[in-house]
Symmetry: C2
Subunit: 199 residues, 2 copies
């Protein structure tokens, strides 16, 4: 059966972004590339991990990963990624405001889901067919999936920095067993692939 996976870049203290996101600062207070040097500075060394980030038949993202907070964006905003987003597949956006789907170039269509993560997952599974569903983030969305026990795999890309106070992975998640599937590191990132234990 197709799996539900999440890959997310975090600091050593599990921050995935800073607070106070705006259109100009998609990572809020956090310097924009702080956690992503591995993607930007040495992509050749991380081909497998970069491929895995987008190797899904459908994607799920939180409202704050789709765009900055604020209702003014609801009608005209089409995501951070330009005309041809990198997903090339259906993307289900968790939100509280209904909106018609937006068909982009290259096969990406944003669908807006107002009735929660289980509904989004059901639609994403159906759209993905035999391929995996990927939960892209942000931290709050991943935490909702962890709390509900709906993830099969969690890939952490850990930048060697303590960030301090940000949007934190695992917040509100109670005891959950994992399994180390794979670990690989360069001096600027540690990739840890965890399986999420059930029951």
């Amino acid at each position: 059966m197709a799996k539900v996976k999440c890959g997310i870049s975090v600091s050593v203290d599990n921050c995935a972004a800073g607070h106070h996101m705006t259109e100009e600062h998609p990572f809020g207070d956090m310097p924009q590339n702080l956690l992503h040097h591995w993607q930007l500075d040495e992509p050749e060394k991380h081909k497998a991990e970069l491929h895995a980030l987008l190797d899904g038949g459908a994607f799920i993202i939180g409202r704050n990963m789709f765009g900055p907070r604020g209702p003014e964006y609801d009608r005209s905003w089409q995501g951070w990624w330009g005309d041809d987003p990198p997903y090339h597949a259906p993307v289900f956006v968790l939100t509280h405001r209904a909106r018609a789907p937006i068909e982009m170039k290259g096969g990406t269509t944003f669908y807006f889901v107002t009735d929660g993560i289980e509904s989004a997952l059901k639609q994403a599974r159906k759209a993905a067919g035999e391929r995996d569903v990927i939960v892209m983030g942000g931290a709050d969305t991943v935490n909702q999936f962890l709390r509900a026990g709906l993830l099969d795999e969690l890939w952490l890309h850990i930048a060697p920095i303590v960030y301090g106070d940000g949007e934190r992975l695992f917040e509100g998640v109670s005891m959950q067993g994992l399994e180390v599937l794979d670990v690989r590191s360069t001096p600027i990132v540690t990739h840890v692939r965890y399986g999420v234990k059930r029951g």
Copy 2:
């Protein structure tokens, strides 16, 4: 120059112990061996890391790592480790109550330091000579050293579990660059050795 190092076992969400520690429950709410299966179940696979944990000329521990909370322990309590503790060297205990040193078997002597981490480090450096000083924990003590910029190396032994709500490493620590020195993993623990960047 000798280094100041810390090795600590944590969950994926950086908890080193549960809340509500007592004499019967040194890890508080946390099941006692949750983070230490690597030490107990497969010591042969982790000889280098086990050796490193105690490879110091002097040690620093927090009051709550020396004994459970409560003034009744102050005069008779001699630590969790029996007559012959595993340190075989001076151990400086951070506390608010003065107490005469306790000389144990095997070369361990507990010294009680009431004037803070910098004083404890100065005394430990002097006692250790050319050997390293090891900050043993718990989380609050390590966080004090991180906040003050006094650690050279941080070795995390990460158990594959999300714990939830416990005594958390990195709490109150603001932005701090690290350097990945070494990473090694088995299915039940991921060892990450970080250098702590200065300035």
